[in-house]
């Protein structure tokens, strides 16, 4: 069993979910409450990774991260390291790939909050930003937690993007999905099966716990 790959995948998934929380909430807030006329363009861009083949996304990401691109060159100047084939590069790719899986559901959760509650908050002198933090986020908590858990599970299985930008470096970018793929390519079917089964079991447990909690804990949560 490739524990190194499993550990790497777990780390990648946790970090991706954490960053998605920090970035995804404001993006979702803007998507829900902004009245700008060009909002639909932003929505389309954010949702792009949903329809784009992962390999296409991976290909362009690799180009965008490479030392020949302004972004990649800038990164190198600031950190002294190259972005392609690094864990950071993989993390960035993961975040971009999973962004619509987080920001859309977040936005849905926000949209479900009764508008009158939001207005009540305003009339009591609470700013829009504080209203978001003190009212909208707490009331959307079950939805937010579900999204985080699903993001985690989704990133665990990420393959196409990792294949294009990872470079398959053990302990750095060789995630568990790549490891399984390698096993199959090398005809080590038994090893592939073992790792796959483990991944399947973990995913199942994660989902079962999430939905189980939904029924008991979150069912009592007001205003879902």
């Amino acid at each position: 069993m490739d524990w190194q790959a499993i550990g790497l995948s777990a780390r990648l998934s946790l970090l991706t979910s954490a960053v998605l929380l920090v970035i995804g909430l404001p993006v979702a807030y803007w998507l829900t409450f902004s009245k700008r006329r060009w909002k639909f363009l932003v929505e389309a861009v954010v949702a792009l990774p949903l329809v784009l083949p992962p390999t296409v996304l991976g290909f362009y990401l690799l180009l965008a991260m490479g030392p020949r691109s302004p972004f990649g060159a800038g990164w190198e100047r600031v950190t002294g390291k190259l972005l392609p084939f690094s864990f950071e590069g993989l993390l960035i790719a993961s975040i971009l790939y999973s962004m619509p899986f987080a920001s859309q559901p977040f936005a849905s959760a926000f949209a479900r909050v009764d508008r009158r509650l939001i207005e009540a908050s305003w009339t009591m002198g609470v700013s829009r930003r504080r209203t978001f933090l003190r009212l909208i986020v707490p009331l959307s908590m079950p939805g937010i937690v579900t999204v985080l858990v699903l993001s985690f599970a989704h990133t665990l299985g990420e393959f196409g993007v990792v294949l294009m930008v990872g470079g398959n470096r053990p302990g750095i970018t060789r995630t568990v999905s790549i490891s399984i793929y390698d096993d199959v390519q090398a005809l080590s079917y038994a090893s592939a099966a073992r790792t796959s089964l483990f991944l399947l079991a973990v995913s199942f447990v994660v989902l079962a716990v999430t939905y189980g909690l939904r029924r008991s804990v979150w069912a009592a949560w007001p205003m879902d």
Partner: protein, 242 residues
């Protein structure tokens, strides 16, 4: 400029009704003015424009010499900056906060001691002692109304706005709560503007009344004048028999 509330606004909805309102309210504390009219007349729109929850196309909304909205000068204060209280239909209590949390929600910027003191005062004023730790879901209809009112008054607003405050209640509850609401509004010392389409509510709650029909204000005056009934009889008739 008059010292009370001045409203001169125009608003039209694309492909829909158009509103043109002119209203003045005297600055008398505890004076209850009712906006009375059929559904769709624009009463709620007017109320929301005064609150800053909706924006008129043009005009002026001012309280005393503070301009809340002035299209000529490009002024449009958000509701946060208007020092008002708003009571929503069905109260809009925050389900994830206790009664205490709800009432002190807008007081986050005050010192803790001050906040606690204000909470105690409000709870006793509205007969909510001992209910501070309850959640809205655990309260009765009447208790919820009192919490909503306490919450709206917590920040010491200069004007109180109420949108159909009794429409969420069933008939048996309505009459006693109507009385209670009237008392609370009067003793609050804050001028209030109440929107309702119910005649009995209008009679019971208001000192003055403005009728709103088809997007404009038709008549303003004391309740009894405007409804053309003897106020004494109407008031007595509304009292529940003990």
């Amino acid at each position: 400029m008059a010292d009370g509330l001045t409203v001169r606004i125009r608003k039209s909805f694309r492909g829909g009704p158009a509103f043109d309102f002119a209203l003045d309210l005297p600055p008398a504390g505890g004076l209850v003015t009712v906006l009375f009219g059929p559904s769709g007349a624009g009463k709620t729109t007017l109320l929301r424009c005064v609150a800053g929850l909706e924006r008129p196309d043009e005009g002026l909304v001012a309280l005393g010499d503070t301009a809340w909205f002035d299209s000529a000068r490009g002024v449009d204060l958000p509701p946060q900056d208007r020092r008002l209280g708003f009571l929503f239909q069905e109260y809009a209590l925050f389900p994830h906060l206790t009664v205490a949390g709800n009432v002190t929600y807008g007081l986050a910027r005050s010192a803790v001691a001050e906040r606690e003191h204000r909470l105690k005062t409000l709870l006793s004023l509205f007969s909510l002692d001992g209910l501070g730790a309850r959640f809205p879901a655990q309260l009765s209809g009447g208790q919820r109304q009192r919490v909503a009112l306490a919450r709206a008054l917590a920040g010491q607003p200069r004007l109180l706005l109420l949108d159909e405050p009794l429409s969420a209640l069933d008939e048996p509850l309505r009459i006693p709560l109507r009385e209670e609401l009237r008392e609370n509004l009067v003793s609050s010392g804050v001028p209030s503007l109440v929107v309702t389409h119910d005649r009995a509510d209008a009679l019971a709650l208001g000192d003055r009344m403005a009728t709103v029909v088809d997007g404009s204000i038709r008549s303003v005056g004391s309740v009894r004048e405007t409804l053309g009934e003897s106020a004494g009889d109407a008031r007595c008739g509304a009292r529940p028999s003990l």
